[in-house]
C-alpha cells in the first residue's frame, strides 16, 4: 500500500506533463516540422524544396553556435564589460599579429610570441633613436560599411583610447606611445616618449582597436564624441566579423564581414550565434547533446570529465596563467629574504601540482612562463629541501618557529587547495599558517591597499611579451605588482630589455631579471595551468592567443 501511494502521485504528475508536452508539441507542430527538416534535410523533402533545405543544412553547417554566460554588454574594447573582450577580438583587426605554430598532437595551435607579422599594417620602420615608429597600411582594406582603411582611422581610434583613459590608454602608456599622427593616406606614425620594445607586441592586441572612423563619426554627438552609445549594440571595424543584432538576455548574432581582406584567413562560418546560457552546467549539457558548437566559462576542474568523452572535444595549450603564493617584502617576517627563501625551499611543488592541479600545471621556476621568449628556469634553486628551509629560518632568528596568516579567496579555482597544501608543508619547518578566506571584493581591496603580507594571487598578461609581463607584474609600481616587489637592479634589467630592439640583448637583460627575481624569492609556485577549450567534435582550427579568446575566423567544421 505504502509503496503505491507516492507512485500514484508520480504517475499523475507524469501524465500531466506528458499531456502538456503533447499539447505543446501539437500546437508547435509547424515549428517541429521545420526543426526536423533542418536535421535531416533532403531525405524528408525530396520534392519541391529539396534545394531549399539543402540551403538550410548548408547554413547550419556554416553557423557557429556558442553558449556563453552573457550577451555582450557592449562592443567598446576600452571598457571591461561581460563578454565584450570575447567578441570585440572577432571584429577589431589589429595592426600586427603573431605567426601561428604547427598543430600539436591534439590539433590545437598557439601563436609564436617571437614572430610578429603584418595585419592592417603591411610594413613598419623604427627610427634609429627608437622614438618614432612608422607603419605603412595595407591598401584596399574595407570595413563592412565599405569604407577604406586610412591613416586617419588609426589616428582617430588611438585618440579615442587616449581620451577614454582605460585599457587602450594603459597599453599605450606601457609602450610609451604619446601620440599618433597621419603622415599620408596610408602611412601613420607613432611618437614615443622613450624607446619601447613592447610597442610591436602591444599592437597585436584588440585595443586600441582600429575603427572605421567614417562610420563612427556618423554616430558621434557633442556629448558622445566617440560614439560609445552606438557601440553598445553596433561596431565598425576591419575584422572578419561584424554585429548583426543584439537581444539583451538572449543572444547576439554576428555575420562575416563580406569585405574582409583576409589577414587571418577566410572565415569558414558565415554566422555566429552567441547565445546567453547563464548556468554553467546547462552549457556543458548543451555541448554534450550537440546543441551548441562551443562553450565559454567553465572551470579547469570541469575539463577532466570530458577527456574520454567522444561527444566533446577538449583542446589544451600551455597558456600563461600563473597561480602564485605572494609575500610582501615590506611587512615582517617577509621583509627578511631568508624567510622568503625558506618558504620557497619548504614548498612541495610537484605535490601541489598533482593534488591541486591534477598534474596538469607546469611548476613555475621563473617569474616568466614557458610560453614567453627569453624564458629560463636555470636560476631556480629551490628544489624542496626542508633542512635548508629550517637552516634559513634559524639564520633569520626564527629557530623556534613563527606564526603567519595566509589570505586567499575564491577568485581562482585553485586558491583553497594551494592554501591548505602550503599550510601543511610550512608547518613541517615551523611556520604556523593560519588560513583566512576573504570575500572577493575584500581580497581585491586588501591587495590594492598593500595590507596583506602573505596571500594568493593569479596573473596572466594581456600582451605576450616577456618585457610586458615582467614590467607590469614585478617592476616597482607595476599596475599588477600585487605584492609590492621592489628591487632597483631588477627594474634596471627590465628597463634595459624593454628599450632595446636587439633580440639577444633583450634576452640577456631578461635573463638577469629572472635571476634577481628568483634570488629575491618574492613569490613561490607560479604554477602555470594549461588553457583549455571545450568544443563539438567536428570543430577544427583552434589557435590559442594571449587574450585567451578563440578567433572564430580560424575555426571551421570538418
Amino acid at each position: 500500500m505504502n509503496l503505491r501511494k507516492p507512485s500514484r502521485l508520480t504517475a499523475f504528475l507524469l501524465a500531466g506533463s506528458l499531456l502538456l508536452a503533447a499539447c505543446a508539441a501539437d500546437e508547435g507542430g509547424e515549428a517541429e516540422d521545420t526543426d526536423e527538416a533542418d536535421a535531416d534535410s533532403g531525405e524528408a523533402d525530396e520534392s519541391d524544396d529539396a534545394e531549399g533545405s539543402e540551403d538550410e543544412a548548408g547554413a547550419a553547417e556554416r553557423t557557429l553556435v556558442i553558449a556563453a554566460a552573457n550577451v555582450p554588454g557592449g562592443f567598446d574594447g576600452d571598457a571591461l564589460q561581460p563578454a565584450t573582450q570575447e567578441t570585440v577580438v572577432q571584429m577589431n583587426e589589429p595592426l600586427l599579429g603573431f605567426a601561428v605554430s604547427e598543430p600539436q598532437e591534439d590539433g590545437a595551435r598557439s601563436v609564436i610570441s617571437s614572430e610578429i607579422e603584418g595585419r592592417l599594417a603591411e610594413s613598419w620602420e623604427i627610427s634609429d633613436d627608437g622614438l618614432t615608429a612608422t607603419f605603412s597600411l595595407r591598401q584596399g582594406v574595407l570595413s563592412p560599411f565599405g569604407n577604406e582603411l586610412t591613416a586617419e582611422d588609426v589616428k582617430w581610434s588611438w585618440d579615442k583610447s587616449f581620451a577614454q583613459e582605460r585599457t587602450g590608454n594603459f597599453l599605450a602608456g606601457v609602450a610609451n606611445v604619446e601620440s599618433v599622427e597621419v603622415v599620408d593616406e596610408y602611412t601613420v606614425q607613432f611618437n614615443l616618449s622613450e624607446p619601447s620594445a613592447l610597442l610591436l607586441s602591444n599592437l597585436t592586441v584588440y585595443t586600441p582597436g582600429i575603427y572605421d572612423s567614417t562610420k563612427m563619426k556618423e554616430h558621434a554627438t557633442e556629448d558622445d564624441p566617440w560614439a560609445l552609445e552606438w557601440l553598445v549594440e553596433n561596431h565598425a571595424g576591419f575584422g572578419p566579423y561584424t554585429v548583426e543584432s543584439v537581444s539583451p538576455g538572449e543572444q547576439a548574432v554576428f555575420v562575416r564581414n563580406e569585405n574582409y581582406y583576409g589577414g587571418f584567413g577566410e572565415p569558414f562560418f558565415d554566422r555566429v550565434i552567441y547565445r546567453e546560457v547563464p548556468d554553467a552546467s546547462t552549457r556543458q549539457q548543451l555541448l554534450i547533446a550537440g546543441e551548441v558548437d562551443w562553450i565559454e566559462g567553465f572551470s579547469p576542474t570541469d575539463v577532466e570529465q570530458f577527456l574520454d568523452d567522444e561527444r566533446v572535444k577538449v583542446q589544451s595549450v600551455t597558456g600563461t596563467r600563473q597561480h602564485r603564493v605572494m609575500m610582501r617584502q615590506d611587512i615582517a617576517p617577509f621583509d627578511d629574504v631568508r624567510v622568503r627563501q625558506a618558504v620557497a625551499y619548504a614548498t612541495p611543488y610537484d605535490q601541489i601540482n598533482d593534488i591541486v592541479f591534477g598534474g596538469l600545471a607546469t611548476v613555475g621556476k621563473s617569474p616568466l612562463t614557458p610560453a614567453y621568449a627569453c624564458f629560463t628556469d636555470e636560476h631556480f634553486t629551490y628544489e624542496t629541501d626542508l633542512d635548508r628551509a629550517r637552516e634559513l629560518l634559524a639564520e633569520a632568528g626564527y629557530e623556534d618557529g613563527l606564526d603567519v596568516e595566509f589570505v586567499y579567496s575564491e577568485i581562482d579555482f585553485s586558491e583553497e587547495g594551494v592554501a591548505i597544501q602550503m599550510a601543511d608543508a610550512l608547518a613541517e619547518v615551523g611556520i604556523n599558517v593560519t588560513l583566512r578566506k576573504a570575500p572577493e571584493a575584500q581580497m581585491v581591496t586588501g591587495i590594492e591597499e598593500a595590507s596583506l603580507p602573505f596571500f594568493f594571487a593569479g596573473f596572466e598578461a594581456l600582451v605576450l611579451d616577456p618585457g610586458f609581463h615582467l614590467e607590469v607584474s614585478a617592476s616597482t609600481g607595476g599596475v599588477a605588482n600585487d605584492n609590492g616587489y621592489s628591487n632597483p637592479d631588477f627594474d634596471a634589467a627590465v628597463a634595459d630589455g624593454n628599450s632595446t630592439f636587439d633580440d639577444d640583448a633583450r634576452c640577456a637583460a631578461f635573463d638577469e631579471a629572472q635571476r634577481i627575481h628568483m634570488e629575491d624569492s618574492t613569490w613561490v609556485g607560479g604554477w602555470v595551468t594549461t588553457h583549455n577549450e571545450l568544443m563539438a567534435p567536428d570543430i577544427d582550427g583552434f589557435v590559442w592567443n594571449p587574450t585567451n579568446h578563440e578567433l572564430w575566423v580560424e575555426l571551421s567544421r570538418q
Binding site: L9, A289, E440
Partner: protein, 331 residues
C-alpha cells in the same frame, strides 16, 4: 495608494543603502585586474561613487523623479530598457505557470473530498495529496528544474533544449507586449507561436509542480474547514444536491484561495529567478541575481523597485477580486 507610496519610498531608501553596505566596489570590477589606483578613482568619480552617500542618494532621488533609473554598467544600457526587455519574459513565465498551478493546485486540493468519505479511493487520494505535497515542497525548485530537464530533454528528448525563449534560428515576433507567445499569437505567426510554446513548456511545468502543491495544501485546509462548518452541514442536512454543495464550498473558499494565490504570485518574481537561470530565460529575476554578484548598483535598485511595484499591484488586484467576491473583506 495612501499606503503604497510611502511603502515604495521606503523600498527605494532601503535598496539604495543596502546595496552600498557591502564592500564590493563596482569601480574595481569595471576597471579590471590590471587597473591602476588612478584609473579606479577616475571610474569612481564617473559613477559618482566618490561623493558622500547622502549626496549620491539625493542625485538618485532626483533622477528617479524624472523617471531615470540610471545605467547598468554590465550591460551598457539604461536600467529602464533592461526592465522593458526582461520583465515581459518573466511575466509570461509567472502568469502561465501560476495560473496553471492555481488550476492544478485547486484540483489536487479539492479532489480527495469529492470522493466518498471512508472509501478506499478517498483514503488513498487524501494520503497521496498530503504526502505528495510535502515531498514536492521539500524539493528545491532549482533541482527540480535540472531533474526535469535531464529526464525530459536530455534522456527522452520530448522537450527542446534549455536555450531560452526561442529555438536557434527562429526570429522573435514583432514586439507588441514583449511576451513571445502572446506577440506571435497577436501577429498570427503560428510557427513562432508553437516554437515559443514548446520552449516554455518545461519551465512552466516546473513552476506548476513546485507552486501547485503549496496552493493544494491551502485549498485542502480551507475546504476542510468549510465542510466542517455549521452552514455546510445544515445545507447537507436539508438535502441539497451535490452540485449545489460544491458551489457552496467554492463560493466560500474563493476569497481565501485568491488571497493566498496573491501571496504566492507576489513572491514569485524572486523565486522564478532560479528557473530563469536553468532555462536561460533572460528574465528580470536572473538579471537581478547577476546584478547583485556584479555590484551593478543601479540594476539592483531597479530590480528591487520593480519587484516592489509588482507586489503592490498583485495585492491590489487580488484584494479587489476578493472584495468583489466577499464584500466583508473590506471591513
Amino acid at each position: 495608494v495612501a499606503v503604497t507610496i510611502p511603502l515604495l519610498f521606503g523600498l527605494v531608501v532601503v535598496s539604495f543603502f543596502l546595496v552600498r553596505i557591502g564592500d564590493a566596489n563596482p569601480a574595481v570590477l569595471i576597471a579590471g585586474p590590471q587597473a591602476s589606483t588612478a584609473e579606479i578613482e577616475m571610474i569612481e568619480s564617473d559613477l559618482g561613487l566618490d561623493q558622500p552617500l547622502s549626496s549620491q542618494f539625493v542625485t538618485y532621488l532626483r533622477s528617479l523623479a524624472e523617471g531615470d533609473l540610471g545605467d547598468s554598467w554590465a550591460s551598457g544600457r539604461s536600467v529602464t530598457s533592461e526592465i522593458r526587455n526582461r520583465l515581459p519574459a518573466s511575466l509570461e513565465l509567472i502568469v502561465f505557470g501560476l495560473l496553471g498551478a492555481l488550476v492544478v493546485g485547486s484540483l489536487l486540493g479539492a479532489l480527495p473530498d469529492q470522493l466518498k468519505k471512508g472509501s478506499l479511493s478517498h483514503l488513498v487520494a487524501e494520503r497521496n495529496v498530503d504526502i505528495g505535497t510535502v515531498l514536492v515542497m521539500a524539493v528545491p525548485i532549482f533541482w527540480a528544474a535540472l531533474l526535469l530537464l535531464y529526464v525530459f530533454w536530455f534522456q527522452l528528448n520530448i522537450f527542446p533544449p534549455p536555450i531560452g525563449r526561442l529555438p536557434l534560428g527562429v526570429a522573435a515576433p514583432p514586439d507588441i507586449t514583449g511576451s513571445y507567445v502572446v506577440d506571435a499569437m497577436l501577429s498570427r505567426d503560428w510557427e513562432v507561436f508553437g516554437a515559443a510554446l514548446r520552449q516554455m513548456a518545461l519551465p512552466i511545468i516546473t513552476l506548476i509542480i513546485s507552486e501547485s502543491v503549496v496552493i493544494a495544501r491551502h485549498v485542502r485546509a480551507v475546504t476542510r474547514e468549510i465542510r466542517n462548518s455549521p452552514y455546510y452541514r445544515y445545507a447537507r442536512a436539508l438535502g441539497s444536491s451535490n452540485a449545489s454543495l460544491v458551489a457552496l464550498v467554492l463560493r466560500n473558499a474563493a476569497p481565501s484561495i485568491i488571497g493566498f494565490f496573491g501571496i504566492v504570485f507576489a513572491a514569485s518574481l524572486g523565486g522564478v529567478a532560479l528557473i530563469e537561470l536553468v532555462f536561460s530565460w533572460g528574465g528580470i529575476g536572473d538579471a537581478g541575481l547577476k546584478a547583485m554578484q556584479r555590484a551593478d548598483f543601479a540594476m539592483v535598485q531597479g530590480f528591487i523597485l520593480v519587484s516592489g511595484v509588482f507586489v503592490t499591484l498583485v495585492y491590489l488586484v487580488t484584494d479587489s477580486v476578493a472584495t468583489l467576491l466577499d464584500p466583508r473583506a473590506l471591513e
